[in-house]
Symmetry: C2
Subunit: 260 residues, 2 copies
C-alpha cells in the first residue's frame, strides 16, 4: 500500500487532489476545518470546527470529531459525491436516495489529505456469542440430551440468571450453564449458586446441574465431580454450521480456539 500525503496551500489546490482521489476510487482522509449540513430522515447542522473526514471508494462518508466512537455525521455507501468550490469554501456533497438524504461538508480550510488504495482480502471470522448459542440450544434442547425440554430461558433466581432451565425425560429439573469458551471453575461455581438458590424453593425436586461448553478446565472438572454436576461438550463449529448455513458469504467452518 502506498499512502500519498498532501498539505494543500489553498482550497484550489485541495479541490484538485480530492477530485483525483475520488475519480481514482481511493480511500481518502481529510483533516480540515468545516461546517456541516445534513438533511434527510433527520436534520442537523454542525458549526465550524476541526474534523477528520473519511471518504471510501464505495462512496461512504464519515465525519469524525476529536472525541467519541461514532461519527457526528455520515453517509452510507450508496452515495453520489459531488465537489465544488466557491471563493472561500470547498464543498463536498454526498447524496443518496431511498431515503433521500443530503450530507454537505463545507471546508474553510484543509490541512491535510492522505489517500491510498487499500489491499484488504482479509477474512472476517465472527464466532458465536453465548447469546446465540443459548437461543439455539433452547430451541434444540435435544442437541444437549435426548428428551430434554426447555422450560425457561434466562430464568431469574436470586444469584442471577439461569441460561437454560429444562426438564429431562425423567421429569427432573435441569439447570444449564452455557459457556462459549472452555468452561472454568467460575462457571461451575456459578451453576452451584443457582442450584443452591433453586433448592430452597423446590426442596422436593431432583435438580441436575449441567455445564454446556466446547471444553472444560481440569479444576472445573474436579468441581463438577465434587458437586455431582455433569458436563456436556458441544461442537461450536457444528453448531455454527446449523445456525449460519442459510447465510451467504460465510462459507467456511468456524472454530472457537481458546480463551484469549
Amino acid at each position: 500500500m502506498k499512502v500519498v500525503h498532501y498539505t494543500p496551500t489553498d482550497l484550489k489546490e485541495a479541490v484538485e487532489i480530492i477530485r483525483d482521489a475520488l475519480t481514482s476510487k481511493k480511500l481518502m482522509i481529510i483533516y480540515g476545518c468545516c461546517h456541516i449540513f445534513y438533511e434527510g430522515r433527520g436534520a442537523s447542522r454542525l458549526t465550524s470546527g476541526d474534523r477528520v473526514i473519511i471518504i471510501k471508494r464505495d462512496g461512504s462518508v464519515l465525519v469524525h470529531r476529536p472525541f467519541g466512537y461514532s461519527p457526528v455525521n455520515w453517509q452510507p455507501e450508496t452515495t453520489d459525491i459531488s465537489l465544488n468550490i466557491t471563493s472561500n469554501e470547498l464543498i463536498i456533497k454526498a447524496i443518496r436516495t431511498t431515503p433521500r438524504e443530503i450530507l454537505e461538508i463545507r471546508f474553510s480550510q484543509i490541512y491535510s489529505i492522505t489517500h491510498a488504495i487499500l489491499e484488504d482480502k482479509g477474512e472476517f471470522i465472527e464466532y458465536l456469542s453465548e447469546h446465540e448459542i443459548r437461543d439455539y440450544l433452547s430451541k434444540n434442547p435435544s442437541y444437549i440430551e435426548e428428551g430434554l425440554t426447555t422450560i425457561d430461558i434466562e430464568k431469574h433466581v436470586e444469584p442471577g440468571f439461569i441460561d437454560l432451565y429444562c426438564r429431562d425425560r425423567n421429569g427432573n429439573i435441569v439447570v444449564i450453564e452455557i459457556k462459549r469458551v472452555t468452561a472454568s471453575r467460575d462457571a461451575v461455581l456459578q451453576l452451584k449458586r443457582y442450584i443452591d438458590s433453586l433448592k430452597k424453593y423446590l426442596p422436593q425436586e431432583r435438580i441436575r446441574g449441567l455445564i454446556v461448553a466446547p471444553g472444560i478446565s481440569k479444576s472445573a472438572l474436579e468441581l463438577i465431580e465434587r458437586y455431582k454436576f455433569e458436563y456436556k461438550r458441544i461442537d461450536i463449529a457444528q453448531l455454527y454450521k446449523s445456525l449460519r448455513s442459510k447465510q451467504r458469504g460465510r462459507n467456511l467452518l468456524y472454530y472457537i480456539t481458546k480463551k484469549g
Copy 2:
C-alpha cells in the same frame, strides 16, 4: 490545526511515533497492514490486510476496511490503550471493562501515521424530524387541542397515510397533517384527499381537517378557509425543549428555521 505526517521505515520507528501521539493525547490515524483479534460480548478475528485505524484522544479506537460505512472492529471511548512490539509485529491493545472487552491490532507493516490536535468547539444542532414531531404529538395530543385523543398514527387511507387520526372532545374525527416547516398549499391538498377518501367510508361522521405546522403560507391559508379546515400553529423550539429537556449537553434552544 497542525497535522504531522510520518512514513516510518520500520515498526521500531513507528512505535515511538505512536507512543508520543498517545501520551500527548492527539487524534491519530494509521494506515497499515494488520490482523485483528476481538474478544468480549462477541468474538472475532480479522486476518491480514490493509486498514485504516483511528485512535482518538479519549481512547476510542476504530478499524476501517476500504469499504463500508461501519468499522469492522472498534472500541468505545472508555479504554486503556497499550503498545508493544515484537520482532515482527507492532501490537496495539485497547481494553475496557464493563463489559470486559479486548481489541488487539497486530501490525506487520505501518505505511503512514498522521496525528493532530483538533480544535473543535462546533455546536451540533439537531432539528426535529417530522417523524419525531408526529410521535411526540401522538403521545401528547393535548398539545394540539384540549380533549383530543389519538386513535391512530399513520392511518392508511387510499391516497396515502394520515399523520394523526384523532377524536376531539365532542366525538368528531380529526384528521391531522403535520409539517416540520411552513405548510404549503400541497399540505392542504393532501389533507383534502385524505378527508375526501375517509368521507366515503364514514358518511355519518363529522370530520375535521387540521394542519399542524410552525407556519403557513398565504395560499395554504386561503385553501384552508375554502375547505373549512383549521390551522394550529406549533412552536418547534418549545416542542424541542419538551422532547430533549432530559438530555444533557444540549443546553441551548433549538429552532427550525426554514427548509435548507
